[in-house]
Symmetry: C2
Subunit: 294 residues, 2 copies
């Protein structure tokens, strides 16, 4: 079968063997924002035509392609949900060269009743269910990081943290930007920021320390963005792990980002297991197994 993680700005396709292994892969910038006039069918045929010609005819699409801005809207499935529930709610799309189905996103409410949604991440979490082994935590870091709780092989709830976007806004549009120059994202300043996030005083006080420490010459301008990033990621991780010291967190994403989060998680007293974005393909395979392809 074919699994496609089709997001706002990226397109990643996997040709998946019957045993779940990846036979081939394609990736590019043809995210839904970059496709003019709703030409999703043409784009899809263009991208995976050779695989279809080679005999594949089952295609699962996950991600923002199933949103209102995408090809067709696939209504959110409420948590708890795992591969069987997602497979039961797949949305068929007419396509002349194969059977195409959309994986729906998930909805949940946090402990205060605030609604949460995800689209695309659910497939990646399903892809690491075997590694989670029943119950555990998954973290998908990024602009809007998601933390999902898994129980008995199903996602029971999740929460979004606006960490990446807050970092960009603070870095680009506050007094802190004046004291930052290019430098490595990891290393000692990142670790110091994570450490700082455990002190009293709160996030809004800690971030001002970027300025204070740089002015005092205790933080290099090449390290100040990493220090800010460490403070924010540290606050995210501590809040998401509250009351779960010693937990194992399955971190899914691009290696540079999962590496940072693994450092922070480990500094905050938990254990991190890293997975790359091909978790999506394993999710497609598992959901595809439960689907009615008729």
């Amino acid at each position: 079968m074919i699994g496609i993680d089709w997001g706002t700005t990226s397109f990643r396709a996997f040709r998946i063997a019957r045993d779940g292994s990846i036979r081939d892969r394609r990736a590019g910038q043809r995210g839904i924002m970059n496709i003019p006039d709703g030409r999703f069918a043409e784009t899809l045929r263009d991208e995976i035509g050779p695989w279809l010609a080679a005999g594949e005819d089952r295609v699962l699409l996950s991600g923002m392609i199933g949103s209102r801005q995408g090809w067709k809207e696939a209504p959110y499935v409420p948590c708890p949900a795992g591969a069987p529930e997602l497979a039961a709610a797949l949305v068929d799309i007419p396509f002349d060269w194969g059977k195409v189905k959309l994986v729906p996103g998930l909805s949940a409410a946090d402990e205060a009743g605030v609604a949460e949604v995800m689209r695309g991440e659910e497939t990646q979490v399903v892809g690491v269910l075997a590694a989670i082994g029943g119950s555990g935590l998954a973290c998908l870091p990024g602009t809007h990081s998601k933390w999902a709780r898994v129980e008995d092989g199903r996602i029971v709830g999740f929460a979004t943290h606006m960490t990446g976007e807050t970092f960009s806004a603070l870095r680009g549009h506050t007094i802190l930007s004046r004291m930052m120059s290019e430098g490595p994202a990891d290393g000692a300043p990142f670790d110091a920021g994570v450490q700082r996030s455990g002190d009293p005083g709160g996030l809004l006080h800690h971030i001002f320390g970027v300025r204070a420490l740089t002015l005092a010459g205790r933080l290099a301008e090449t390290g100040s963005a990493a220090y800010l990033s460490g403070i924010l990621v540290g606050h995210e991780v501590r809040a998401a792990l509250a009351g779960m010291a010693g937990a194992v967190v399955h971190v899914i994403g691009a290696p540079d980002l999962t590496s940072l989060y693994a450092r922070a998680i480990s500094a905050c007293g938990a254990y991190a297991e890293r997975h790359d974005g091909e978790a999506a393909a394993r999710g497609h395979a598992l959901i595809g197994e439960h689907a009615a392809w008729a």
Copy 2:
């Protein structure tokens, strides 16, 4: 005497009677950023000439006028410091029409050893020492809010929270800005944000709720900026008050801002007493009493 709170963008002058009462006041936009070619002496004479002509000859300047970007740099005085310590460190400025002295700023280190400085706020805090009555907390809300601890009539330490600037960056430069329209800064959405800041999940999760609640129709676009503000102010207040439930906080500043902070402080289990910006004049009077005018 004459007391002047001379900041980056504003200039506020007070003619102060011997008993500390304000006889006259002037205010305008002639902050240090708006004065070309270092023409501070000319600006000062222009602003307070009539008072000098009427017989005043003692002038205290506080605020960024004493910074490297100002008229002359007045080195920071380390905490603990009150009116006598500030008066002993006044910096004379040559001025042909009267005796002019700069009030120095204060420096401190927070519990983690991170350096903190303030310039101008120390004079306002000194101005409310009588209301504090020995020991207590002062809060000066704003772009960079300051929280100062007073013991036995001296400022023993303080911390900066980057609340106002973080609000502007998030409001102007993230996905949240799309769901905000003009509306009142206070009212139920602000209070709901303050309440939300007490939930588990952390600041970076709470702020994403602005989007979730607005999309779900549970928060009006005219209220979403106030809700975001409530979340941030609530986090600031809770962190600054940690372990001090029932404290009295002396909030100093413009009425719209002290009103918001008083709501938040009271919702977080402490008591707020509000003071306006004329606290600066009372600070000038008290520091002026201790000064050696020769």
